[in-house]
């Protein structure tokens, strides 16, 4: 296997994430009749934040400073396992799907710790919500991944989302469709998108993810923003690979297909966000349980 496609997809994974956010924002702006910020605005925001200095409260400890460093690092490590276009990702071994899921768990854990470290009851509340919803989203994610693992006969991300998946759609279409629907709901919940969390507000009653990072500033906040964009990117790549399992064999063409799929998914998320209101907080667990039940029915379909 040549090195260039691998480096190319790694570079894409590093550069692309804020673009997805930009496309989502632009879609929402167009659908609500506004001009909206430029598609590249998230990059400008990151650049601006990197120029600034960080402010640290005297009550915080090293945990608070470690948060913004560890979480993007965990996401970057997770990105190495995600097969973007090439037959195999940069790193790959039997069972790496569990590591992938828990690298995202590590990032959440350190973000929650950093939020608790500030001692603010407000951030504690956000941390508690994040963990509550994550504990419901994680089973749904794993059951959805189990459907794919069962269908493709592999627990290795590169093979699960590899060429076998295309043939599997013909034999186990309904189950995979259920897994994809469940995965989409998990994607919305994990990335604090609309029906679960409103990423644009700073109202205390609506925030889950935003509230935990309120005290981070400057470059730290830039890392956090980049990390969450990367998380969205990781989930999106897997969903696109699941929904569009096309493998032409020519690297460039495959790359174009995946990027087009990612942009399409970003537009879809923008449409979902514009067309529905945020759910009441007590209804969010129901949404996540629904997601889990969808995946569980899918698993039953392939497992009987």
């Amino acid at each position: 296997m040549s090195v260039i496609p691998l480096l190319l997809s790694l570079g894409l994974a590093l550069v692309c994430p804020p673009l997805l956010l930009g496309v989502i924002h632009k879609t929402k702006a167009i659908l609500t009749g506004r001009v909206g910020a430029p598609v590249l605005q998230p990059y400008y925001d990151l650049w601006k934040l990197l120029q600034k200095g960080a402010v640290y409260s005297r009550t915080t400890s090293w945990v608070f400073r470690a948060g913004p460093l560890v979480s993007p690092a965990a996401f970057l490590t997770a990105a190495l396992f995600v097969p973007l276009t090439t037959p195999s990702a940069l790193l790959s071994f039997w069972g790496d799907v569990v590591l992938w899921a828990y690298l995202i768990g590590v990032a959440r854990f350190i973000t929650v710790l950093a939020a608790l470290d500030t001692g603010s009851s407000f951030e504690g509340m956000g941390a508690s919500r994040e963990v509550t919803f994550a504990s419901l989203a994680e089973p749904a994610l794993f059951v959805a991944l189990a459907v794919i693992a069962k269908v493709t006969g592999s627990v290795q991300l590169s093979e699960m989302f590899g060429p076998v998946l295309g043939q599997a759609w013909r034999t186990a279409g309904p189950a995979l469709a259920l897994a994809a629907a469940s995965f989409f709901l998990v994607l919305l919940a994990e990335n604090a998108r609309m029906p679960v969390d409103d990423p644009t507000t700073h109202l205390e009653l609506t925030m889950i993810h935003e509230v935990m990072v309120l005290d981070h500033s400057g470059p730290d906040f830039a890392f956090i923003l980049y990390g969450s964009a990367l998380k969205l990117f990781l989930f999106s790549v897997l969903l696109v690979r699941l929904l569009v399992p096309v493998h032409i064999g020519v690297v460039w063409l495959d790359l174009v297909i995946v990027v087009a799929g990612l942009l399409g998914l970003a537009v879809l998320i923008g449409i979902v966000e514009s067309s529905m209101a945020r759910l009441r907080l007590i209804r969010v667990p129901q949404l996540l349980v629904t997601s889990g039940v969808l995946a569980a029915v899918g698993l039953l379909l392939v497992w009987r």
Partner: protein, 214 residues
């Protein structure tokens, strides 16, 4: 073809969960109606050999009754009865969904124990029928509005219809037509009765109906 049948059956199963998870009565009525429409397509897909006239008639009748007439009647009752369009279940929505998931597992396990008929075209048919039956029972037990009782009853019939489809070749048309007729009469009477109950007593909660006994 087999893919299409499986897809319809899976969609029908998911609509059960929509009924369990939705708090809007209107959405539930639409979901059950859509389930009826989906099931009315099935006899046309499941037939082996030539398309018999009675199968087409059954599909058309089912489509007209469950897809058009029943939802129209129920939505009219909902509107004219000026009742609250929200469901207040005895079991919470999240818990109902979990019970539904358990019911689905039970249905799959049970149907794997049943002997399979040679005439069965899709292996999903019996599990889907069992799931619909079990979840309709959950709906009947846990939702106290009179309208949701009707919905549970309709879902029960959908499940029975699915079971009937396993014998699609030999199923006498008269039996299925009889069931449809019973259902039609049932829903018609219930629609009228609910309408009158809600006019007389300004609520249609079956929980309170037990206290009416002399």
């Amino acid at each position: 073809m087999a893919q299409g049948i499986d897809l319809i059956l899976v969609l029908a199963m998911l609509l059960n969960f929509l009924v369990l998870g939705s708090s809007r009565l209107r959405a539930c009525i639409r979901a059950v109606a859509f389930q009826g429409v989906l099931l009315s397509i099935l006899p046309l897909l499941l037939h082996q050999g030539d398309l018999a006239v009675h199968m087409v008639a059954l599909s058309a009748g089912m489509l007209a009754l469950k897809g058009v007439l029943f939802p129209w009647l129920l939505l009219r009752t909902l509107r004219d009865g000026s009742m609250r369009a929200e469901i207040e279940p005895l079991i919470g929505f999240t818990a109902s969904l979990l019970v539904g998931a358990v019911a689905t597992v039970v249905a799959f396990v049970l149907s794997s124990r049943l002997p399979s008929l040679p005439s069965m075209t899709s292996s999903l048919l019996v599990p889907a029928a069992m799931t619909t039956l079990l979840i309709s029972l959950v709906v009947l037990v846990s939702r106290t509005k009179a309208l949701t009782q009707v919905l549970g009853y309709l879902m029960l019939e959908n499940g029975i219809f699915l079971f009937g489809l396993t014998l699609v070749q030999s199923m006498p048309l008269l039996v299925e037509l009889g069931v449809l007729l019973d259902l039609f009469a049932g829903v018609f009477i219930m629609g009228i009765v609910i309408y009158h109950i809600s006019r007389e007593f300004d609520h249609i909660d079956t929980y309170h109906l037990t206290t009416l006994k002399g």
